[in-house]
Amino acid sequence: MWGKVYTGFGYWDASAWILFFFIAAFFTLWLRSQGRSDYKKGTEQDEIYWSGNEVPEDGEDITVPASSAYWGFRKALEPFYRGLLGIHTGIATDIVGYYVMTVAFLAVFILLV
């Protein structure tokens, strides 16, 4: 049941990985349990450190919006994305056009090759 999957170049053994995962998990949880718990609950000591300011109540103000996640990746590849988003015009005839061009390209080259 718990056999190995041979991929011709090596093998993948799920049970070995899971065994390793539990050992690592055990060690991590032990390390975590060494933390100090003598802080006074309810006081400022268990509030998040917001560089001294009052932590805003509504989560809205301190969440990073999804559209700005990976903005560096997006800005770095700006020319690539301008081209890629340019292709996705969303016009129905363009979509059919790409399809017809692909089939035409395939047809021409298969008759040549």
């Binding site: 996705h88 969303g90 016009i91 129905a92 005839t93």
Partner: protein
């Protein structure tokens, strides 16, 4: 050469249908072009089954002993026509709904879903 005249007709009609989709901006004309495409394929199927001098492939109508055209492509064409009917009806009702929501049936303006 005259034998495959219908196939030239199919080729011309197919290209007309295909170009019709890209030449126009009006959705209804695009639906019409798709129907032309469908009918060109139907002609192609019927033309495939033709045997020179063949008659209608129905025994009691054509009588015995006469050469008959191939019945299978005609069966395929019947089904293809029925399917083209269903798809065209659906396309036109979608165009009607697009008109109701977008107020336009110009293909370049219907692109809220892009990128």
């Amino acid at each position: 050469m005259i034998g495959n005249a219908p196939f030239f007709a199919v080729g011309v009609l197919f290209l007309m249908g295909l170009l019709g989709i890209f030449m126009t901006k009006n959705l209804i004309k695009i639906a019409i072009a798709v129907t032309i495409l469908g009918s060109s394929v139907n002609i192609f199927l019927v033309a495939l089954g033709y045997r020179t001098g063949g008659t209608i492939p129905v025994h009691f109508l054509a009588g015995e002993g006469t050469t008959m055209v191939m019945p299978t492509p005609q069966a395929m064409t019947l089904t293809a026509i029925v399917i083209a009917l269903a798809t065209t009806a659906l396309l036109l009702s979608l165009i009607m709904l697009v008109w109701r929501h977008y107020g336009t049936i110009d293909v370049d303006e219907i692109r809220r879903l892009r990128g």
